[in-house]
Amino acid sequence: MSTSARPAVAGIEVVRARRARIDLLPYILIAPAVVLVLIVTVYPALYAVQISTTNANMIRMATMRFVGAANYVNAFDDEIFVIALGQTVRWVIVNASGQMALALPVALLLNSAFRGRAAVRAGILVPWVVPGAVVAIIWRYMVDANYGVVNDILLRLGAIVEPIAWIGEPLPSFVVLSTATIWAGFPFFAITLLAALQAIPEDLYEAARIDGAGAWQRFRTVTLPLLLPTILLLLLLRMIWLSHSIDLIFLMTNGGPGYNNYTIAVYSFILTWSQLELGYPSAMVIMLSAVLLVASAFYIRSIEQSREWM
């Protein structure tokens, strides 16, 4: 019995030894980071969900009560929320695609050899490093109806007969805001694309040249496919940032004229900032986050597919 039982006992010992030697070190090493993330990200997010089911207002926290899904349901009866929802989509699509449309040719230019390239590469970052508040002030005064340089130039050129209140009109105000946002945001795209361009092996271009491919064909068949994952990732990041950006919109236009430049982020900020509301704005941003999460999941899947396609 003892001899026949020996292999079985040995097997149990191996299992025990394995159990005794659990590789916990990686878990211990990442534990501080996990704790930190739980404290600064997960807990506030869960708290925001909890707040969104109440009528919380900073002035009346003592009388805060549970309202269930009322904030979520009522949002769709709120004319301003519905306006802001549509304008969030417009804001994100126009600005993300605008930044990409400007950044790609700039990145291609910066990737080519010319005199003073280093200086231009450094200079291109200037709009990106200027703080949002400063960008807003610069652009607001450039397009000011009374003293702005844009109106002054157009008047001198005879292009207009009287000053235009750029940020006092629905469409021009959106154009000005988008121009300022594209100007301030495109360098990040351009520099990231430049890094991706420099990672493309020169051999591929050489092979294409040998095969008789012209510049456009080389761009279409070599550059663009290899840049695509970077482009898609950049667009995803930018769409997320833009969907909750408020600085330029708020500082340049207060979301106006009327509600013409309200986005969900701006509307929730205005409610929190001026009326000290917490419940309803939390519900709005949670809905926005949910939409972004779902959109991001689909988007990441398409990025993966683009990699498989390559």
């Binding site: 005794a20 030697r21 659990i22 590789d23 916990l24 070190l25 211990i28 534990a31 501080p32 704790v35 900073m58 002035i59 009346r60 926290m61 003592a62 000011d144 109806a145 009374n146 003293y147 009287e162 000053p163 235009i164 209140a165 940020i167 006092g168 009109e169 629905p170 236009t253 207060n254 979301g255 106006g256 004229p257 009327g258 509600y259 309200y262 205005i270 900032w273 001026s274 009326q275 000290l276």
Partner: protein, 468 residues
Amino acid sequence: MQQLSRRRLVALGALGLAAILAACGGGLPTPTPKPPEPSKPAAPAPAPPTAAPAAAPTKPTAAVPTEAPKPAAPVTKPGQTVVEFWFWADDPYQASLHTDSLKKFQEKTPSIAVRTDLIVTVADQRKKLLTAFAANAGMPDVTHGTGGWLPEYYDAKMIVPLESRLKGWKTFEDWLPAIQRLSKGGRPQDQIGIVTNQILVPYLYYRADWFEEAKLKPPDTLDQMLEVARALNKPPDRYGFGFRGGDGGSLGQQIGLYLKGDGVEFVKPDNSVDLDSPEAIDRVQWYVDLVNKHKVTQPSALTDRFPELFAGLQGGKLALLHHGLWSWKTQEAVLKEKVSATPIPSGKKGRFASTGVEGSILYATSKKQDEGWQVAAFLGEPEQAKLFMYERGSGPIMKSLLDDKIFKENRFYKAALDSQPGWGEFPSWHPNWPKMADRWGPELQRLVKNEVNAERFCKNLADVLRKG
């Protein structure tokens, strides 16, 4: 990777835990630092800052502030009680009115040290206060504040009713009856909650030189105001009327005053709302016609707030501009005799000038309310009130100040005092008023852009007042 034995894992875990605890501040006690050396006496005060008015028509008899404020913790002496005091100011000179007064207080009352915190704007201070109160941390003992805050603060149980203290304070008997009423914050059932030391009175600035040139008289009624705005309107060089469309400021300083002048109460004593009454719709239409029909407003009317409007008046672009006595020095410093002021033009039922009181508020969270009261009372004494009256541009708050020569000799003070029968307040005590005021700006912009008509504008805002 090398695998660990359970013993080593436990040891490592303990080490990691110790490291986390150490990082969180659980270290060994450090030696108590030496107390700082007593501060040296302050250097001689520099000359008044340039923002100080050079063109004041009469010299103030009250002490003139001497330096820009340096909000900082005072060096406290043993036995001294520290009182936290928050305030805001439009500029460094106005801030010095508070800090210099508090210096005088400390000289007079060495047992109390006042630690000041200068906050940039009135709105920022309100939010900081409410946030501190909600967080139950960092509340001051006393702040400068406005009467308009009182209903909200009473409801939140933030502040201390002051009538029992005021009754034992001799200066209170000198308060004008209107000040006693305004210091309740708009709800008659509330107690006085502010030791008022200033009253802000709005009026209408006009370019006196252009009026003289065109042989026009300052407008007394809204119809006359439209006439002179049309007469002086010469676009693109200058415009008849400074329209405030960039924020909700038109509610308190333009159309809101006209509506009240027409008898629209916004919220009636029986709590019904009349903002969508035919009278209100008519006046709102008249107001928006200034932009769209008569075209007497500046091109940037829809986005201008008070800084742009000030630039317009001072830069020779605007003939008429609503603001108030508290900015007379700013305008006069630039335009000298070219600028003057007249009371708010009257509407169909009379004249209305929304007055707001400012002063010191005591907080229920304070454990030093007696000391806080001493600070508040000192800032409300006639000497300080006179200082604010001359240097900030406040109206009179005391009977003894009513006959001050400045109200006869200075055209701006005269205009403010001439509107006294029309002094009043908006029903900002109404719980939905802040929401309505917040919607005012964007709704007005929609109205000007014809996205809504006057009727819809009034209905939207009346509904906010009714339903929140």
